[in-house]
Subunit: 95 residues, 2 copies
């Protein structure tokens, strides 16, 4: 399993639009065969801070995800909403 | 539910010791009543980068967790292993 944490700071005026797109991305990603879990999360401390926490079966599942219609259509739209650089970390469980 | 992502950069010479302590923290935290999930994760891109991803029932469960014997004994020991500031974000699901 591989866990992705993609942390994004979203401009305040874009948060509503971001949530609508994130909702579609979450729903369609969860329906993928290699997706174990997929959530969109908003910080309690700062409403601008968001992250996707995604658990995938393996790298092949991530490669398939990155090539889907919903990923290639929705994810590029997030870029214009960022209020800072996105940080994407890929993890495996360490213990 | 509240999700905590606690991201830590661990000195290379401390990684083995960190994993041993993280293992105990994970096991004991998972046994708490308000804990929904708790994982310790190591970056695929940089072996020094780790994060705990924790899902708790509510803030009260986090407060109880933060006062447990295992939390108050183990977590302070991580500080000496850090190779940079820890970043702790608390999230709720946004969609």
């Amino acid at each position: 399993m591989i866990t992705i944490v993609a942390k994004q700071i979203i401009r305040k005026d874009c948060i509503e639009q971001y949530h609508a797109l994130a909702k579609e991305l979450v729903e369609k990603s969860r329906a993928e065969e290699g997706c174990i879990s997929y959530t969109s999360n908003q910080s309690i401390q700062d409403e601008r801070i968001h992250c996707f926490i995604e658990v995938w079966k393996d790298q092949e599942a991530i490669d398939i995800h990155n090539a889907t219609e919903h990923f290639t259509r929705i994810v590029p739209q997030f870029g214009a909403m960022f209020d800072g650089p996105e940080v994407v970390d890929l993890y495996t469980e360490s213990v």
